[in-house]
């Protein structure tokens, strides 16, 4: 009896585990147009995934939508299975919210020519008539906040905490640095790509490293920056956020955030679908189409001069007077 059936025990543990690791939830509501979202992180991550869910929810107020969300699919194979499943179930639009899903989507979309697919962030529709791509011009907001950061910095030194130098993160960081240099050519804008999207502790120490060399304004992008925000907060150093409104993480230090309003392009995609166009188009949210917004933290006492610089920069980019990365 000593050698209790170990296999059974492990099976129970594994089943329990599988239960816990499975995507956190599939929810459904409403009627008419059936839309599904498949996204990598949690739908309330205050960042990438939450932005698309919030976007759809905004559109939902205007027209009846049957929405289903599968989040937490950081494993691409799981996401692919979910995408195919939704297409099979007859969803009208399936949104694959993660550039890593592109390869799988390309294959799946061919099998379901009557289903509309959207994926981002990317600018590639694979030449398929039923795939739209979407991206965010995050360099624009980055540029605006870079200008404000340079104006706000007393020591002439600012710091950026990045994950890995790719995609949306690179776009934002490059825009931010360009904006800072445009405001103050002498500014020291140190960029630290920590090499990970998930190492919160390392992000915190990266922020501290910036502060140690004298940075008094910080920014950062991707989900591990929560650590950096905490570090900045402990030293009372100003923070600019992106992808979502991060004010509630540190109301004392968040100056402003670039917020993604995907509803802007979602409306366009749905309008096209109403006209029978299932894809083949590229969409982008920008300051000009109000898909990107700079949201100021009302609790932060920002000098009026800096606020003005920011607002002017937004106007200039909208009007095309400033082209951030050109």
């Amino acid at each position: 009896m000593r050698r209790f059936n170990f296999g059974t025990v492990m099976l129970v543990v594994l089943i329990l585990t599988a239960f816990c690791v499975l995507p956190a939830g599939v929810m459904a509501a409403g009627k008419m147009l059936k839309i599904a979202i498949v996204a990598p992180s949690a739908s309330n991550d205050l960042a990438f995934t939450q932005s698309i869910v919030d976007g759809i929810n905004a559109v939902k107020k205007e027209r009846p939508i049957d929405l289903a969300v599968t989040d937490g699919t950081f494993v691409v194979e799981d996401a692919a299975a979910a995408i195919r499943d939704y297409a099979k179930k007859g969803y009208d639009l399936v949104i694959a919210h993660g550039s890593q899903y592109g390869g799988s989507l390309k294959e799946i979309a061919k099998d379901f020519p009557k289903t509309a697919f959207a994926w981002g962030t990317s600018a590639d529709t694979f030449g398929l008539p039923n795939v739209s791509s979407y991206e965010a011009a995050s360099d624009e907001g980055g540029f605006v906040m870079g200008m404000m950061a340079a104006a706000l910095s007393k020591k002439g030194s600012i710091g950026v905490v990045g994950p890995i130098e790719v995609g949306d993160a690179k776009l934002f960081v490059d825009g931010f640095v360009a904006g800072a240099k445009a405001q103050n050519p002498k500014i020291k804008a140190n960029v630290n790509y920590i090499g990970s999207f998930s190492d919160v502790a390392l992000a915190a120490e990266a922020a501290r490293a910036h502060m140690a060399v004298g940075a008094d304004v910080l920014t950062g992008t991707a989900q591990m920056v929560v650590g950096a925000i905490g570090a900045a907060r402990s030293k009372g150093v100003a923070w600019f956020g992106t992808q979502a409104d991060q004010t509630e993480l540190a109301p004392e230090i968040v100056v402003a955030c670039q917020v993604y309003k995907w509803e802007v392009i979602l409306r366009q995609i749905l309008a096209d679908m109403d006209n029978g166009i299932l894809g083949g188009k590229k969409y982008a949210i920008t300051l000009a189409n109000d898909g990107l917004m700079i949201e100021f933290n009302p609790k932060y006492k920002l000098p009026d001069t800096v606020t003005k610089i920011g607002k002017k920069a937004v106007m200039d980019i909208k009007s095309g007077k400033i082209k951030p990365l050109k």
Partner: protein, 310 residues
């Protein structure tokens, strides 16, 4: 002027390395105790995640850091009890069971976080604990005595555990059953009892490591530990199962990571080599591991369930 800046940077880097090393140190100290008694636990990271979430949630709800730490410890103890039951009583294969614990911790911590918290909300982190006299020493004070209580606790555990392992009968029993449980059993030492206690203590330290991480960062999110627990296991081998060695390993890992960060911040590492440089702590640890692994032998009974007369 530039001298001043350099000193500040060096101080900041060392202090940063110590902070980074702390969760590794706690986790690998815990793992080393379990391994010394002959039980491998690959689930450290899962225990850390559960400890981290439990502590985070407790602090979020009560605002009491001490309570958060206690909950992290208790949770670790419970998992230790469960793991001891699996490995000692059921004599399960330790590698697979540990991975089971890890997956359970990874999934369960995220599930609970999603259900109970959802959107990340900050909690009050540790305060810096000023130690009279020591903290006031120039340079040294700023490097080593400008930390939170948990950092001091972690490093004080090193001599304490050294003492327990090397100078107490309990420690001697642990060493004996990790090498030759049959011999210990023949002298009336309870192999199962010692393994239970070693696993409970070890997992308490893993739970504490997670709690310390969450409270130090003031936040929780999915996979907060980012596989720290696995590195902690490597550091146990690096440290040749000795508390001092484990501390050295954690410090090497932490300080190298801090140096790389600081160099990137100062622009000393080109952007193109950034991701490569991020691997430096792991690479240096592996190299050191290879050197150490040839000199020391793991506990002979490691991973082997003990069956009397078997």
């Amino acid at each position: 002027m530039s001298d001043l800046i350099n000193t500040t940077i060096i101080i900041a880097t060392v202090a940063s390395g110590i902070r980074l090393a702390t969760p590794f140190l706690l986790a690998s100290l815990g793992e080393s105790i379990g391994q010394r008694s002959g039980v491998l636990n690959l689930g450290v990271d899962g225990v850390m995640l559960l400890g981290a979430f439990a502590a985070y949630y407790t602090v979020l709800k009560t605002g009491n850091l001490f309570l958060g730490i206690m909950i992290g410890l208790i949770l670790g103890a419970l998992i230790g009890l469960f793991y001891a039951f699996i490995t000692v009583n059921l004599q399960a294969q330790q590698g697979v069971s540990g991975i089971g614990i890890y997956l359970f911790g990874l999934g369960m911590s995220d599930l609970l976080f999603q259900k109970l918290v959802g959107t990340p909300r900050p909690i009050m982190p540790f305060r810096i604990l000023h130690i009279p006299l020591l903290s006031d020493i120039p340079i040294i004070g700023e490097m080593f005595f400008d930390h939170s209580l948990i950092v001091y606790v972690a490093f004080l555990l090193v001599p304490l555990l050294s003492l327990i392992i090397n100078r107490t009968t309990y420690g001697m029993n642990i060493r004996a059953i990790g090498e030759n449980p049959e011999a210990a059993d023949s002298l009336g030492v309870s192999v199962g009892g010692i393994r239970y206690s070693a696993l409970i203590i070890g997992n308490m330290l893993a739970g504490l490591a997670g709690a310390a991480l969450a409270i130090e960062l003031g936040i929780f999110q999915h996979n907060l530990t980012n596989a720290m627990g696995f590195i902690a296991i490597a550091l146990v081998y690096f440290g040749a199962w000795r508390p001092l060695g484990v501390m050295a390993g954690s410090l090497v890992f932490g300080v190298v990571a801090a140096i790389v960060l600081q160099c990137k911040t100062l622009g000393l590492i080109p952007r193109s080599a950034s991701d490569l440089a991020a691997m430096a702590p792991a690479i240096i640890t592996i190299l050191a591991l290879v050197v150490v692994a040839n000199r020391f032998r793991q506990p002979t009974a490691l991973t082997k369930p003990y069956v009397r007369g078997g």
